[in-house]
């Protein structure tokens, strides 16, 4: 009886952990596509794939994204849909701050050069922005 309770508690604990983890992929394994399919899809999109592994039920890819930056990305193993994309150069400022003097604490990598002129062909000139 006692064993049954412990097993049940453990089962519930694992279930709630997986429910709380938003970034996990929950595709049933029977629906998973081979990693090779993902590699071919990404290479066709312009990626250079360094490696693919399974993490939290997702396919986790390390490589160079079409934009020319190193990236780590998660994909749904069934649909091969992009779940998360992270630039690798941003990892440098992840948690390194804990090794730094507080006065040297970094603010992180800026998204772009704020004084740059837009280059995407949609917006001409730098927008003017106000916050109230």
């Amino acid at each position: 009886m006692k064993t049954k309770t412990v097993v049940l508690s453990l089962a519930l604990a694992f279930m709630s952990a997986s429910l709380l983890a938003d970034d996990d992929c929950n595709d049933p394994m029977t629906n998973w596509q081979p990693q090779e399919n993902l590699r071919q899809k990404l290479e066709a999109e312009g990626w250079t794939v360094y490696r693919i592994k399974v993490d939290d039920g997702c396919y986790e890819v390390k490589g160079e994204a079409p934009g020319g930056f190193r990236a780590e990305a998660s994909f749904s193993p069934a649909s091969l849909m992009l779940m998360e994309l992270e630039r690798e150069d941003d990892d440098e400022d992840n948690d390194d701050d804990r090794y730094r003097n507080n006065s040297e604490k970094r603010e992180g990598t800026p998204g772009s050069n704020p004084s740059a002129v837009p280059r995407n062909g949609i917006v001409s000139g730098r927008p003017s922005v106000t916050v109230e």
């Binding site: 934009g67 020319g68 992009l82 630039r87 998204g111 002129v117 062909g121 001409s124 927008p127 109230e132």
Partner: protein, 160 residues
């Protein structure tokens, strides 16, 4: 001397002729985003243009300057591939709870009433991400009409 003046005049006339169509096609658009009092840290948001099927076409503005958080703006991140060329010169500070952001920019006139949409993704640290907090058609008819957001945005409108 006369010849030089004529040549200068011709150059100026040609330059004006080339420049005028570019100005004539641009339309000044003001986007106003009012945030809810959601009570968290500053919100990251991506304002972008999509076609009628929701496919990303271009970035209009990104509030929030740390690129490591950009992946939380998932619809925009997928479309732009987080390629810096897409958002260079179009980023600024994140937007605090309850504040209002106004963005004035010049858009190609041909984009208006042509089946495009304005979309906004929002994200706040330790809170839920909202892809398509706003999705409204870019039309003369919708201009000036406030739209309620589905996430952290209280209301959004654009004026042509």
């Amino acid at each position: 001397m006369k010849q030089i003046l004529s040549a200068v005049g011709l150059v100026i006339a040609l330059a004006s002729a080339l420049a005028m169509p570019a100005f004539a096609q641009a339309r000044e658009v003001t986007f106003t985003i009012e945030m809810k009092n959601y009570g968290g840290d500053g919100a990251y948001l991506a304002l972008y243009l999509a076609d009628g099927e929701g496919q990303y076409q271009g970035t209009l503005w990104v509030a929030g300057e740390k690129s490591k958080y950009y992946s939380h703006l998932s619809g925009w991140a997928r479309g732009s591939g987080l390629n810096a060329v897409e958002y260079d010169g179009l980023t600024g500070a994140s937007l605090a709870s309850g504040r209002t952001l106004k963005i004035n920019l010049d858009l190609d006139d041909a984009l208006i009433d042509s089946g495009y949409e304005i979309r906004i993704d929002t994200a706040v640290e330790d809170m839920r991400d909202h892809s398509d907090d706003i999705a409204v058609p870019l039309t003369s008819e919708s201009a000036g009409q406030p739209q309620a957001g589905r996430g952290y945005i209280q209301s959004f409108q654009y004026d042509l």
